[in-house]
């Protein structure tokens, strides 16, 4: 047992205290933060905040109030300027004093039509803010109960619930379905990263020619157990640090965007996540160990491992198709194929109800394949461990006799 512990400790410290680990650790949060910032900046810069004029023939806008908050860099407020005469508005439009102007016709209360005149179509935000302004003024003119007024201002809130009650989606919380989706993807990234570390750990043993020393000190089982646990621990460290980053991000982001405070993960989804994750972890680890045992150097091994990690990420690349039609033929087929099933299942579970029997079969196939992968890795390891500089063929691994 102590020997396994020494191997775990070695593997863990070997990877965690390397610069490479720090890079991969920081790269994901940095990319996410950068992407969010870019999106916000694009949003902010795409809104033209030069004034917009309006001519109110219906006499609706009594109080030219704008949005209550003063706005900010990310929530720009567009000033609206009243005109009496259309000629003046046209002139200002030509002189680029205003970017566009609205005309509320006299018949507006009956027709509910507003005209927008422009040279260059203004951003959607302009119409949005003007509609708010009109709505607020219309409501102000009527003698409504403040509660009713508030309800009218907020509009409808539709909540969709699946028949079995397992899935619920509120119109204003569309992002909640993405929480399990993102969690699934993150977990898979951790599985793949741990697998990558394991692959490296096994090939390095061959590159350094330390395999003979190792197996005359410990059993192959102790060696592999230590390596797998050590590298899973590395993956989990990465996950925990990412979760902490995410949590901090939500806390900070929540200060600016209140919707971020509602992020949550359904318990049953979390349970299913674990059921899918465990065999996936075993399967990926075993595949990586097998590749590590058969290949002779790290670069080559990484190329070959790509053949396995690529299909695993296919569902992620076609995620929009699976999201749109989570019970479609493609999604169902991908759930049966062990390499693609982990991510497909997690995605489908996030967006729809997968029949229990189907889910059970998918997970059973996954477990069976994971067991097969362990068997395969064991053979590959025993055959390949002392081969330096010579690759092992698949035929040899499946060969009848095993030389020990």
């Amino acid at each position: 047992m102590t020997k396994i512990w020494h191997i775990i400790k070695y593997e863990y410290t070997h990877h965690v205290f390397r610069k490479r680990f720090l890079f991969s650790l920081l790269s994901l949060p940095l990319v996410v933060v950068a992407m969010i910032l870019v999106a916000l900046l694009i949003g902010a810069f795409s809104v033209d905040t030069s004034p917009v004029g309006y001519i109110d023939h219906a006499g609706i806008i009594q109080e030219p109030i704008s949005a209550e908050d003063g706005g900010g860099f990310f929530n720009p407020v567009i000033p609206f300027q009243a005109y009496q005469e259309e000629e003046q508005a046209i002139k200002d439009l030509e002189d680029k004093v205003i970017q566009a102007y609205f005309v509320i016709p006299e018949a507006y209360p009956r027709s509910i039509e507003i005209e927008l005149i422009y040279f260059e179509e203004p951003s959607y935000e302009v119409q949005n803010q003007f509609t708010d302004l009109v709505r607020q003024n219309l409501l102000a003119s009527e003698d409504f109960d403040p509660d009713v007024k508030q309800r009218l201002e907020e509009g409808n809130l539709i909540t969709m619930t699946s028949l079995d009650g397992s899935h619920e989606m509120r119109e204003d919380q569309w992002y909640t379905i993405f929480t399990p989706f993102i969690a699934g993807i993150t977990f898979m990234i951790v599985v793949m990263t741990s697998g990558g570390y394991l692959l490296q750990a096994v090939v390095e043993e061959k590159e350094n020619r330390t395999m003979e020393i190792m197996i005359t000190s410990v059993t192959p089982n102790q060696l592999m157990t230590g390596k797998i646990i050590g590298n899973i621990a590395v993956g989990l460290t990465q996950l925990v640090i990412w979760l902490i980053f995410g949590w901090i991000g939500l806390k900070i982001g929540g200060q600016f965007w209140p919707i971020l405070q509602d992020f949550s993960m359904p318990t049953n989804y979390f349970f299913l996540l674990l059921v899918v994750m465990l065999p996936s972890f075993v399967m990926v680890s075993a595949i990586m160990a097998a590749i590590g045992s058969t290949m002779t150097d790290v670069r080559e091994a990484q190329q070959v491992s790509g053949l396995f990690s690529l299909p695993m990420m296919i569902p992620y690349y076609i995620s929009s198709t699976i999201m749109m039609n989570p019970n479609g033929a493609l999604a169902v087929i991908l759930s049966y194929f062990p390499l693609t099933s982990p991510i497909t299942i997690l995605m489908r579970l996030a967006f729809t109800i997968v029949p229990a029997w189907e889910l059970a079969i998918n997970i059973m196939i996954l477990i069976a394949f994971a067991i097969f992968a362990i068997w395969f890795a064991g053979r590959a390891f025993r055959l390949g461990m002392l081969r330096y500089g010579k690759k092992l063929s698949i035929k040899e691994i499946f060969g009848k006799r095993i030389e020990k």
């Binding site: 102590t2 020494h6 191997i7 070997h14 005359t216 330096y388 020990k404």
Partner: protein, 303 residues
């Protein structure tokens, strides 16, 4: 009582019969030379002793029974394929490997420091292994083989990449270990080292035992009953009982007539008034025996 007992082991890889019905034993307190030409089956034999391979047939007993996990802690192995973790500091690498031999970290660390000082590696302990020279890595590997004070030491070509000073030091250590009662199996092609160090040898070829016994016995068996002499001046042209005199680099090789004893030659030389610096019964160098035996084997195979 043998510490390693190999009995009629055979091992076949596909078409190749790597080891064929091989038997020998190794006793505590001896340096045992495992010799043979390239591809003779030495490494396969060592790997079978270490339980890396299983023999197809035959039995191996190590430390009084079959190999198990606990016994691995009592074996030090310097494989032919040298290997250390290249990307980590020397001391960390050595400590890790020592803990895998069942040493606790504190003890390993103390012992390793002693060894590193002895091998002039102490000041390099924080350097990455890959930054060390080949000779230094070789010394580090030897430390890994010896640090846990194993009962059995199996070393494959221990002197490659070592300078003469370090070679002497390693020889001293091996002799010290032998005197402590450890069993040492040494596989090497450097016959002069075998002559200097080994108590007994096993020569294998094509996986079979060709020679087995004490070094002296084997050399005596191959002795040609020649005598090496170094006189103070010159030798007379004829000496009683000597068929032929060959001059070699200041020494003479005397080829004796049949049934003539070396003692009588010494007597004759003294009677002839020859002053001698050296008088020695010519023992064939192991190198010659090795080449002769292996060539004979090749001849047999070709017949």
């Amino acid at each position: 009582m043998a510490i390693i007992n190999v009995s009629h082991i055979s091992k076949r890889f596909g078409e190749t019969q790597a080891v064929n019905d091989l038997s020998f034993e190794v006793k505590p307190g001896e340096i045992f030379g495992l010799l043979g030409p390239n591809g003779a089956g030495k490494t396969t034999t060592i790997r079978m002793i270490l339980d890396i391979f299983e023999p197809d047939s035959g039995e191996i007993s190590v430390l009084g029974g079959s190999m198990n996990e606990e016994k691995k802690n009592h074996i030090g192995y310097l494989p032919e394929e040298r290997g250390l973790y290249q990307d980590i500091p020397l001391e960390r690498c050595l400590t890790f490997l020592a803990t895998l031999k069942g040493m606790d970290e504190k003890k390993a660390s103390a012992e390793l420091r002693e060894y590193m000082k002895q091998f002039d590696l102490y000041e390099y302990r924080d350097k990455k292994v890959k930054e060390l020279s080949k000779g230094m890595q070789q010394k580090a590997q030897l430390i890994t083989t010896l640090v846990h004070d194993p009962e059995i030491v199996i070393i494959d070509e221990p002197f490659t990449s070592l300078d003469p000073v370090n070679t002497e030091m390693v020889k001293d250590i091996l002799e010290m270990k032998r005197d402590e009662g450890k069993a040492i199996i040494m596989s090497t092609h450097q016959m002069n080292q075998v002559e200097e160090l080994c108590d007994r040898i096993l020569l294998i070829d094509h996986g079979q035992r060709v020679l087995y016994g004490t070094l002296r016995e084997i050399q005596n068996n191959f002795s040609s009953r020649d005598i090496m002499v170094t006189p103070l001046s010159t030798l007379p042209d004829s000496i009683g009982g000597v068929r032929e005199i060959r001059k070699l680099n200041g020494r003479y090789r005397l080829v004796l007539e049949e049934s003539f004893e070396p003692n009588k030659i010494l007597k004759n030389l003294i009677n002839l008034g020859v002053e001698l610096i050296e008088f020695e019964i010519a023992v064939p160098p192991l190198n010659e025996i090795f080449i002769k035996v292996v060539k004979e084997q090749e001849g047999d195979k070709n017949d």
